[in-house]
Structures are given as structure tokens and as C-alpha cells.
Symmetry: C3
């Protein structure tokens, strides 16, 4: 079990939201909130840790998450090293730990890691130097903790009291690292109701998502919800998962205006992106007045700035 906190209880790594308690979670959300600026305004820039270095190691391709971490780091005055996976020594037979040790020796302070192999970020966190931090930027189908944080931050900006909140998540929940991490945070914050909406084949295992209701019917799953979150359907998974095609998925689970009308009138609509318009969500809803999808993106940069600041304070003092 990776220790995410140091001996004095400060955040050292961020691998999963499962073990992050409510005070820590709320501190991170407060801090992220403080990095949010108006649209078009000059982003907050920091310099307390100027000259420190972040290495982005994305072993799965990513545009948005990598860019979000990169901008967060640059706005904090950090140097950013983007390691190109395709030319990386990993393909030359170097073990991933040797790559990490090499970058540690070059004084990289934070590793931002995305990998399709479950357990990899924790494994690396268990093996780095005491003055180095690992941030999980997407781990197989298990964890995506900064996404979970930005999701609950976005909900909190609109709704505040989690105990009164009904959240519905629609889609391939079984394989979604987003759904896993967001539900960890929602549980910690004491969410009133969590409903999972998916065909049986995409439902998570029985011992996961404790306390959540499961609905194969979107109408009962969405009724009177405060928050409706749709997930990206991985088209590659369509055959395997008994989803014949985009059209029939959209017919059964696509979030359109009619279905959204079943939720509360002030319900917000969320999506982690990138969206398949016309598969899991209609454009009318994605771009409609209830959508907070772009706010999620803005909150993503703020959240990553907050997490980086926090681990740097843990490593190197305020």
C-alpha cells in the first residue's frame, strides 16, 4: 500500500483518492478554487518553487491531461520536461525504474505519470527518493485522482452541500478510471445519492462502488438528479462490450434534452472529455446552459496547480 502522506500527514504523492480524508480533500479543493480566475483573465502565476522541475511521462497518448499538467507547472514557474514515449529508452529495454532513477538524478522533483498498467504509479511512488513526488495522471481503468478532484470541485462550485446531492454517472463505469476516482471523492464528501447507469456489461464488479445504486434504465437513473455525468465511450470497446454501435448506444444511454429534463431543472451536466458527440451526449446538451464541461477543464488546471503546490510544500517546506 503506497503511503500518499508523509509521516506528519502531509500530502506527498497523489495516486488515488481512496485514502484521502475529508479535511485533506477540502484543503485541496479550497486551494484549487484560489487558482481559478475569470475566463480571459491572466492566470495566477506562482514563483515560490521556481526552478523546480516536473517530468511528464505519458505512456498512453494524451493531449488534454498532459497539456493541463504542463500549463499548471509552467504557471507555477516550474521547468517542464515532456518525455516522448515513442523515443523513450523504455523501448530500448531500459526498465521504467531506471528511467525514473535517471530523471531523479537530473533533479526532477515531480513525476506526472500516465500508464495503462494498473499499479504502476504506486509502484513508482514506492521506489522514488524521499524528496520526490509522484502524481497519477491516469492509471489503467483504476484511478485518475486529479480528474476526481476537479469533478467534485466543479460540483461544489455549483451545489455546495454534498449531503443533499444526487449524482448520476452514465456510461462505461466498469472501465472508467474517472468514475472510480470521482466516486471515491464523492464518498469522502458524503454525497447524498450516487447512481450508476450502464448496461450490465459495463457495470462495475459487485464489490466496487459501495453504496451506489445501479440502473440499467437511464430514465430511473437520472430522475431528479442534481448532477448528471456522462462518460466517454471507448469505441474500441464496442464489440467486446456488447454495444453493437454508436447509434444503438445513443438510443439507450445517450444524454439528450428529453432525458436531461428528467433530472432537476438546475441539474448540471458534466463530461471528462474528449466527447463523442452523438454517442454518449447530444451537442444540444453538451453546449447547453446546464453544461459545465468547460468549467471542468478550467478547474483541471487549477486543481493540478493546487496539487503540485501542496506536494512541493511537503517536500521542500513552504
Amino acid at each position: 500500500m503506497t503511503m500518499q502522506l508523509d509521516s506528519s500527514g502531509k500530502l506527498r504523492h497523489l495516486i488515488t483518492l481512496k485514502d484521502i480524508d475529508k479535511p485533506m480533500l477540502e484543503m485541496l479543493l479550497d486551494r484549487a478554487d484560489s487558482f481559478v480566475t475569470g475566463r480571459g483573465a491572466l492566470p495566477r502565476n506562482g514563483s515560490a518553487f521556481a526552478g523546480r522541475t516536473v517530468a511528464n511521462l505519458f505512456f498512453e497518448p494524451s493531449t488534454r491531461t498532459r497539456s493541463s499538467f504542463e500549463l499548471a507547472a509552467k504557471r507555477l514557474g516550474l521547468h517542464v520536461l515532456n518525455l516522448d514515449v515513442r523515443t523513450s529508452s523504455r523501448t530500448k529495454g531500459e526498465t521504467i525504474l531506471d528511467t525514473i532513477y535517471t530523471l531523479e538524478a537530473m533533479s526532477c522533483d515531480i513525476f506526472v505519470l500516465r500508464d495503462s498498467e494498473p499499479g504502476m504509479p504506486g509502484f513508482i511512488a514506492d521506489n522514488v527518493d524521499p524528496w520526490v513526488s509522484v502524481l497519477n495522471a491516469g492509471e489503467a481503468d483504476r484511478n485518475h485522482p486529479t480528474q476526481g478532484l476537479l469533478d467534485v470541485l466543479t460540483m461544489r462550485q455549483h451545489k455546495r452541500d454534498f449531503s443533499q446531492l444526487s449524482v448520476s454517472i452514465i456510461g462505461d463505469i466498469r472501465h472508467s478510471r474517472v468514475a472510480h476516482s470521482t466516486s471515491h471523492a464523492l464518498n469522502t464528501l458524503g454525497v447524498g445519492q450516487l447512481r450508476l447507469i450502464a448496461p450490465e456489461s459495463l457495470m462495475p464488479a459487485a464489490d466496487e462502488f459501495a453504496g451506489a445504486e445501479r440502473h440499467t434504465d437511464i430514465a430511473t437513473g437520472i430522475a431528479d438528479a442534481d448532477v448528471v455525468m456522462t462518460l466517454r465511450i471507448q469505441k474500441e470497446r464496442m464489440n467486446a462490450a456488447a454495444i453493437p454501435d454508436s447509434e444503438s448506444y445513443y438510443r439507450q444511454y445517450g444524454l439528450n434534452k428529453e432525458r436531461l429534463a428528467l433530472a432537476k431543472p438546475d441539474a448540471i451536466v458534466m463530461h471528462p472529455g474528449p466527447m463523442n458527440r452523438g454517442t454518449e451526449i447530444s451537442s444540444e446538451v453538451a453546449d447547453g446552459p446546464q453544461s459545465v464541461i468547460r468549467e471542468q477543464v478550467a478547474n483541471g488546471v487549477a486543481t493540478r496547480m493546487a496539487v503540485m503546490m501542496t506536494v512541493l510544500e511537503t517536500l521542500h517546506g513552504k
Copy 2:
């Protein structure tokens, strides 16, 4: 029709030089001139907009233009995000507008865009937030406005009075976004004479390049010219365009010392790069005393700094 200017007539986007009037063009050229420094000298660095962000989206590969924009931005103190097209979400089926909306939400202020699809930069400019600017870095065979600006800047540094100037452009004018943009600027500046030199198959459509003379014979096309600009021949286009091969193109249209002697003795030689030496230009001419090809490159960075400063002032005030 994309509005490049805001309601008070300030430059907001740069999509095409077609609509840029003479005072605006001259302001941009003056400003670019002020960013030119001697070779080997420390480049001017700016900080008025430090902390703002430029996103480079090059959907066609480019080394020089991307690097030129990147250095221009960095020297202005801007954060630069290079989006890797090959790992971009566009390949995952995300629409380009969703990519733009995502980057807007991350507080990108300027999009530098290259695309093989005509109309794309204007389409995006029509859809961004009011505090965001789009710069066209190469659009199909239509527009390459910063290249047009740097071309006329280079001419002005050597020749000054455009009304007395005879400019000859040689090559695949039909498919050249450079030729289109440079001729827009030359027309606005009231160029004395513009001659297009190409085989019939590479001549532009009859309704384009109004006022320009057309020559299939390089000798009459180049006689007494003040400026001789050769264009890159896309070798991929050779069969389609009835140019059998490099050698025969060079025989008919290659700019060598003998042909250059037909122009004025103080004529300058230009090329947008990258050059095919021995196809459209001889090395003797490319590296000779009349060549200003490297000055064009230096002017390119200065021009892009000028354009970025100008749109940032429009967006965010001085």
C-alpha cells in the same frame, strides 16, 4: 467572413492579409522592424504579457514556421504549448472545435494554427471566445499571412518605395499560400509591377492575382525586376502538374546566375524555404550576395512577435 478587426478597428485575429489596410500593414511592419536585432545580438525580450499562453496547433508538419512562432512567443515571455498532432484527440474523434474549447478553458490566449483544410483558421476564429485570438500559420493553398508580412518587410528594408518596385514570383503560384499572401500585401502597399512566372499548369485561376502580369517565359518575367522570389516546388506535385522532374523544371524555371543577371543589378532574391537547391534555385544564387533569404527568416520571428504583441494589446489592453 471572419472579422479580423474588433469593433474599434484593432487587430484581433490574423487570418488573411486580403483585408488588412495600408495603415494597419505599415504599423505591423514598423513594429516588426523594432524587434529586429543584429545577427548574434541578444534578441529583444518582452514581458508586458508574461504569463499569457500560446497554443501551437500544427495539423501539417512544420519545423521552421512552428519554431519561428515558438521563439517569438517565448521571447515575449509567453508560455507555449505545442500540441502534438499525432497524439492529439482529433484522432480520437474529438472535433477540432472541442479541442479549441478545451484549450480556451485552460486559458490559452492565442491559437497558432496550420491546417491543410481551406477555411479552417477563419472557422475557428469565428467560434472562439471574445478574449482569444487566432493566427493563421499556413492554410491549405490560400493564406500564410505572417509569411506575406515578413516578405514585404524584407523588401521594404532593402527597397522602401513600393510604387517604384517590380516584383517577380516564380514557381507553383497556383498552389502557393505564400504567393497569395505576399501578393495581398504588395497590392495593399501599391506595388509598381507584379509578374507571375510559371508553366500554364501552375498558373493561378484567372480571377486571382488581379493586376499581375503572367509569364510562362522566365526571361521576360524577370527582366529588370527589383525583387525575384522563387517558390518551393512540392516534388509530390510533379507528376500531377506535368512537371516531369526536377531537372527539367530547373532547366525551364530554375533561378541561376545567368537568369538573375536579367533582373536589375541590385535585385534581391527571396525564397520562403525550405529550398530545393538545384530544382527552383541554384546554390550560387541562394548563397550569393543578392540573396536575402536568411534575412527573411530573421524577419519572420520579428514579424510574429509584432503580430502577437498587437493582438494581445487588442485583447487585454496595453
Copy 3:
């Protein structure tokens, strides 16, 4: 013959260590030492040349060396341009010199170059402007001067007096640019003894490595050594070089604990990375108390900072 020094004897380019004399070498090592900081400490950051630009041109893939140069440059406040070889104009038929001239015109001050073609860095150094510097970051099987510097820096930190030192290098010495450069530096510093350990097929030509002993038997080659350096085996070369496979190479030349015990008890173990664990070195040795492999990496960044500072002072004064 490329002139690495300018007319007043200052370092202008770094192409090979062959011609670098002892005072210059020691100055570079002293300077590199001054850039070394404790592990986890904030790296030294410089600003004397802030606003200058480094262009990384790696025509062979590289993660570590490219990252090391990139971090060195960023920590000196320099702008860094990473040229992506795969989208570079070189593939469009532009000559490498035209690429260099273009980047010079964009005010790049330093070119960091890796290429599989011997002679390329020197050729480019012979052709750049007087205010531009070329640093060789790996040239075919010939030179890797910053690696040679960091190797002797690491030895000096542990051993000090080179005249009393016995150094053994094991592996594919014939094709190793590291072994070539490190031996140049060791010769200049007056190393007591240099032993090369390799099968005949991987031994260098007879006129190379003057003064070095040659051993096909690792036991006699390693006996009483102060420094044992193993080289990476290029697996691609295995058939050609009559090394049947990893296992038999490891059996004959792999550095394990038993063999290391033949060296002096305080011998240090070095490897330029990336390592093939179980081929040229055992994990027990690589991660053992005598290994200074990670120190080499840290010294690499410091060495590149020292070299960049030095050539910038030569180009632009202190």
C-alpha cells in the same frame, strides 16, 4: 580540422575531447563541480545569459541526453527549441546546413547535435556564424565529449589523483563513442593505467586508444582496478559482432559481484546508461554500494551547464 577554440584560446565549440588540453579540461570540471548540488536540493539556476536560445537537434532518438541538455539550458535561463526529427524539413529534402542557417537566422546561439553520421558536428561547426556554438551530443561511434567530461568528473569526485588511477572499460569499445571520449579525457589527465576488456570482435582498431592495455579476459582486465566502467551492449549488433546472445555475453563479460571483487575494494562502478541489466551488468552491482551510476547522471546536467556557460562567455563575453 574543426577549431574548437577561438583565436584567444577560449572554448567556442565542443566536438571532441581529443584536442582539449589539461587546463581547459580542469577548468570545465571545476565549473561543472560548482553546478552540482545535493540530491533533492534546488538546482543552481543562472540568468547571465537569459534570453539566449539553444536548439536541440537529435537525429538519433535519445531520452536521457536530450533531457540532460534541455534541463541544463533551462536552468541557465535559456530558451530551448526541441526540433522534432520526424517532422523536420530534413525529411523534405532540405540540407542539414539549410536547417542550421535557418535556425541561426532565428537567433539560436547554441546547437546541440546528435547524429549517426561521423563528422557531422564538426562539419556544422565549420559552417556556422562566428557568434554561434556547436556542442556534440553524440557522433556515430566516435565522440560524445560531454559524456567523457562527466565520466572523469565522477572519477575525480571519488579518486582525485588520475596518475595513480587504474581504469578498466568493459564492452563494445570499438563502437562506443563514450569509450572514445572518456579515454581522450583520461589520457589528457594522465591516467595511470587504462585497460580495455572486450572480445576481439569488439576491440578498437590497433591505432586507437594508444597506451591502453587490451584484455579479452575480464579477470585479468579488472584486477585491482580503481574504476570499472561497463558499456551498453547494442543488442542490434549481437549477430554481426559474433556475440551469440545476452546470456553468453553476460557469462563472459557481465559485471557481477564476483568479478567486481577482483577490483580494488573501493573501486567505483560506472555505466553511461541506459543499462541492460543482466547483459552487461548485474542488478546487484548496478544498485550496489560501489555504483556511482546515478552520480554520473547528476554530473551530466552540471557538466552541460558548465559547457554552455563557457561557450556563451566565449561568444558574448562574461
